[in-house]
Amino acid sequence: MQLMEIKSNRLNDSYFYGKHNSGLKVYVYPKKDNSSTYAIFGTKFGSINTKFKDAKTGETLTVPDGIAHFLEHKLFESEDGDAFKKYAKTGASANAYTSFDITGYLFSCTKNFEESLKILLNFVQTPYFTEKSIEKEQGIIGQEIRMYDDSPNWRVLVNLLSALYQKHPIRVDVAGTVESIAKITPKNLYDCYENFYNLNNMTLCIAGNIEKEKVIEILEGTIKTTPPVEPESIFPEEPYEILKDRVEQNFDISVPMFQLGFKEKAEKTRPSLHKIVETEILLEIFASKASHLYRELLDKSLINSSFGSEYFEGPAYASVIFSGESQCADKVAEIIRKAADELHQNGIAEEDFKRAKKAVWARYVCTLNSVSSISKTILGLSFANWDFFTALDLIAESKLEDVENRLKEQLDSKNSALSVVSPLASCE
């Protein structure tokens, strides 16, 4: 296989990209002076992909909630032992994660890179699911779920999504529930594996002290080419409107937390890269520490430095989310909603736009400091066929009018929901 050079003239940086015959996308980002190398092997498969058309039979399959995360745990085991044991011999630090739309297997190392990469490629391509090993994992993941049950930080997001969305599976917790994972069978796991772990649906990203030739050589020896599969997830039609505008849960905590989400009209796929970049500039203008909004909330003693905003988007869902701690979350929501309405009315000042653009530009450039950030970011972009340097160019070339146009489709205060976690009444 061949990897071609992708260059950024603005940064004088470059990386290599190529597509293997199997459909696997491969990215190599050399960083010559780095001590460590990071690799991630990921699939476009997360907690939202619970209903899909089986590539083999054409039948529509529905699998239990939390299966992507469960599969991630189980893939580490194979007939000849656990992948962690193999990594133990190379010294690599290995891990994996499952999000709403991605599962990634990764390691970072300072020596024995080739051996570690072979381990990664081999175990992810070798599923081994049995009744017995599934049962063992139910205890471990059960405790992981319980741990998240005690996390107000996590619950406040999950609750928000279940208020914003009426039908989309983004409403469901990534790990599922103790009850849903109890229903998982080896067949469910193999069904998911065969559809979503086809190399045509996967990406390998490597960043660090490596040469691309070495990577190609290892790939040629380890990739098991199977006929390409184009997995077809089925998402219910999601109405524009939110389900409910407020949701609350009580916890044994002392500072209440909130998340306020503004839902927007979502396409079948992710929003375009243009839209993502423009939204980030918009949020920097609207809610960063330099904004009028931040100042107003601070002066009224309503927020602290945990306040922040993000563009939360993926296949068929997109929202802007503000989060933080506040003694009076409802008041915060009222002020943000009002500020959003005013922004729609008054537009954006040129100087605010210029400052925000510089800050967002720098944030993207900083991603390139760390091999893990590079790999994770490129992985996410690759699943939508985007390139990191294009994102940088879009920021550098963005114009105030673009951001103003973007604003027209966003921050609709009438389509927003507030999620609050509050202290128990008895703790007051």
Binding site: D33, K85, A88, K89, S93, L298, A359
Partner: protein
């Protein structure tokens, strides 16, 4: 330590330059060390937050942050923590390297000035900190202290430390006490600021592609106006052996029981044997191939996490896990049993080499992050011999089976803490 150049600005104030061209950002941090003490913890704790909120030149939060945004979103971060029993007050700036400015600006020089501005020329009204700034930061620090209660894993660890080190300075929260924070006056905080500049041991680190000269000049000028005194003693009390293990149970409305075991390791600070304690703790519970992971999690399916962590400065080790309430005894028993196995030497040479490889991998990776390098070197401020990450990894390589067994046998259980539901 070849790549670190150290300059003494005045007694107790060092400037360290670590020049690296491969990062796209620069970082300058100033850390002030003061002894942890009940009387002063709260008034000192608030300083980094208050100082980074505004300054004489940018007298309000918004004007300061607009300036930072204009400097390509440079960040000015405040943090209060501890190293051993020293309270650490730090202010750090992270910023885009000048090479990447879209319109040719020089970001680093402006950020250096700004950093000196906030530390030495704060916004004072009638000679003391402005009331409105202080009130805002008091509220936010109180909320930060409260938020430790919300993170149950963290909270259980903090409570275990407090119970275990009840009569030691280590039990003092470096963030201070909420009640005292809320009672702070502008005068008191002004005095704390002056005291810190005069008496604290101060370590400044510049990392990235930064010419040390102009930064050093800027700092020298600022410090020349301070009447420095002999820096105060920040030593840490080490208790080598636990007398009798305590058990404490506390209750909250939570789903999963958090279990924390605190041990005295008897090896601390500059004792060179600390490398063996580090390897022992990691073999015990620091990796996915450690004793605790393989037995408590994988074999018995009792938990999702069960890990051990060695704190060299204080010479203590903690094991943390989250389990179902009915499994508390089983989990504790297995954790202690695994430590016994190490004491008896029941581990293979493969386990030793895997553990060493993992630790050395983690240390060498520190080279790739400015923030990690900063923390790594700052934590060695009181050591006579300073190691680079690679030198550290080389010391780990030398540790033998006998040293690991000795480190395990020197470890004694001090406190078992449970946070559970009624």
């Amino acid at each position: 330590m070849d790549n670190v150049k150290t300059y003494q600005i005045c007694e107790g104030v060092n400037f360290n330059s670590i020049r690296e061209t491969r990062f796209k950002t620069g970082r300058i941090s100033i850390t002030m060390f003061l002894p942890l003490a009940n009387e002063t913890a709260s008034q000192s704790a608030i300083l980094p937050f208050l100082l980074t909120r505004s300054c004489g030149k940018y007298p309000d939060f918004t004007s300061l942050n607009k300036q930072l945004n204009d400097l390509y979103g440079a960040s000015l971060d405040a943090d209060t923590d501890r190293v051993g029993e020293a309270q650490t007050l730090s202010i750090s700036a992270s910023f885009l390297d000048d090479r990447y400015a879209l319109y040719g600006e020089t970001i680093s020089a402006e950020v250096t000035d700004l950093l000196c501005e906030v530390l030495f020329y704060p916004r004072l009204i009638d000679g003391v900190f402005a009331e409105d700034d202080l009130e805002q930061e008091k509220r936010q620090l109180a909320e930060l202290i409260d938020s430790e209660y919300s993170d149950k894993k963290l909270y259980a660890k903090l409570r275990c430390e407090q119970v275990m080190c009840k009569d030691e300075k280590y039990s003092i929260n470096p963030l201070g006490e909420k009640k005292e924070v809320l009672a702070l006056s502008p005068q008191k905080v002004k005095e704390a600021w002056e005291r810190a500049l005069k008496l604290a041991r101060i370590e400044i680190i510049a990392l990235g592609d930064l010419d040390p000269e102009p930064i050093l000049a800027c700092l020298k000028k600022a410090f020349s106006l301070i009447e420095r005194e002999k820096p105060c003693d920040c030593s840490t009390e080490i208790i080598k052996i636990a007398e009798k293990a305590k058990e404490v149970t506390e209750y909250q409305d939570i789903a999963q029981t958090k279990l924390v075991l605190g041990f005295r390791s008897s090896i601390a600070g500059v004792d060179k044997n600390f490398f063996s304690s580090r390897v022992m703790a990691s073999l015990f519970g620091g990796t996915p191939h450690s004793k605790l992971f393989l037995n408590v999690r994988e074999k018995l399916s009792l938990c999702y996490y069960c890990s051990a962590f060695y704190e060299r400065q204080k010479g203590i080790m903690f094991v943390q896990s989250g389990v179902e309430k009915q499994n508390i005894v089983k989990a504790k028993h297995e954790i202690l049993n695994q430590l016994e196995q190490i004491k008896k030497g029941n581990f293979t040479d493969e386990e030793i080499s895997a553990t060493k490889l993992n630790i050395s991998n983690n240390y060498i990776s520190i080279n790739d992050s400015l923030a990690s390098l900063d923390t790594f070197y700052t934590s060695q401020s009181f050591d006579s011999k300073k190691y680079s990450p690679s030198e550290y990894a080389a010391e780990i390589e030398k540790i033998t089976r006998e040293q690991i067994i000795a480190a395990a046998n020197a470890t004694s259980l001090d406190t078992v803490y449970y946070l559970t539901s009624k």
